[in-house]
């Protein structure tokens, strides 16, 4: 919320309706615990109690630097499923983003 308070004017924050997070599987964030923490946060910040929190978990994906194929990583084996070369080129799954914020018009 501090990040959003720095990003938007108070007038706009008063109209905030929902926050959408993108949380990658490698971000070490557990969505259910974050929801619980968000509920607890409202005790000290009731002004945000009407703002919904949506968390989208993203799967881990790599893109091969050689053949450009995109692979969904399973069992943390960072291998291209097309050419079987190892790759560390993570294109999804490390995010910890405030992806979208909705305001009442």
């Amino acid at each position: 919320m501090k990040t959003l308070e720095m990003e938007f004017e108070k007038e706009k924050l008063d109209k905030m309706k929902s926050i959408h997070l993108k949380v990658g599987i490698l971000s070490n964030i557990e969505p259910r615990l974050l929801h619980n923490a968000y509920s607890a946060y409202h005790m000290s910040h009731p002004e945000y109690s009407g703002v919904a929190l949506n968390i989208e978990s993203t799967e881990l994906k790599i893109q091969c630097e050689v053949c450009n194929h995109i692979t969904q990583v399973k069992n943390y084996r960072f291998l291209c499923e097309n050419c079987e070369r190892p790759s560390k080129n993570v294109i999804q799954g490390e995010e910890l983003l405030i992806h979208k914020v909705e305001f009442e018009d």
């Binding site: 070490n28 109690s49 560390k88 490390e94 910890l96 979208k100 909705e102 305001f103």
Partner: protein, 232 residues
């Protein structure tokens, strides 16, 4: 549970696609640190591991081996006490303790705050001994040149896939306490296979700070990286 406000949206909804990275403040400071140590060509190494895997003992051992060849210092993070910095100072090198007061990792801001307590102009190597934890420290860039992770034989050889982010972002894995291998169901082959499946670029050295196994190889690795940074 707190009841949600009955406030509902009226009229249309305005939407802003923000894509704000929640650790962007940390990454901003990490870049400042990276630029500062680039100016003095000081090699900055972030040392991570579980608690009790031998980070501080390795810092002591490394100081004993290298302090006459290079100028080195350590900043060490812990939730409480100054014990680790005291142990490292006993070897004769400069060491500063960062007491996080309950925070389970170091953040770039904490490192930057104490950076001016080190004479970077005359330092070849600065270690950041992170808080013992394989989870959160993986997410915080500290502006380091390299990340080194210790994995002790006593922890079990299944750790790389349990803590993939840490091993994905690590440059060198030190398998520590190798003197205990004869007594433990731990194989270097199993841990290396798991670790390389996560990160195929990972280097691996087996070490023991008690028997000295691998310590010369570790010190050579450091000296090579110091020379690379200085452009020798």
């Amino acid at each position: 549970m707190i009841e949600k406000s009955p406030k509902t949206a009226r009229g249309s909804v305005q939407c802003e696609n923000t894509n704000i990275h929640l650790l962007k403040a940390n990454d901003f400071v990490a870049d400042i640190i990276r630029k500062e140590v680039a100016k003095t060509k000081t090699l900055l190494i972030n040392v991570t591991s579980s608690p009790g895997s031998g980070k501080t003992t390795l810092m002591q051992k490394t100081a004993e081996k290298l302090k006459d060849k290079i100028n080195m210092a350590v900043m060490v993070g812990d939730l409480e006490t100054e014990r680790d910095a005291e142990r490292i100072r006993e070897t004769g090198i400069h060491a500063l303790q960062i007491v996080t007061g309950g925070i389970c990792h170091l953040e770039a801001q904490m490192v930057h705050q104490v950076l001016d307590k080190f004479d970077l102009e005359n330092l070849d190597l600065l270690f950041i001994e992170n808080v013992g934890n394989l989870v959160c420290p993986a997410s915080f860039d500290l502006g380091e040149d390299y990340r080194v992770t210790l994995l002790a034989t006593t922890e079990g050889d299944d750790k790389p896939k349990k803590y993939p982010k840490m091993f994905l972002t690590t440059d060198l894995m030190l398998v520590s306490k190798s003197d205990l291998l004869p007594y433990l169901p731990f194989t270097l082959e199993a841990v290396t296979k798991d670790a390389l499946e996560v990160n195929h670029e990972l280097e691996v050295i087996q070490i023991s700070s008690l028997s000295d196994e691998g310590i010369d190889e570790w010190c050579d690795w450091l000296l090579e990286k110091i020379n690379d940074k200085k452009g020798f």
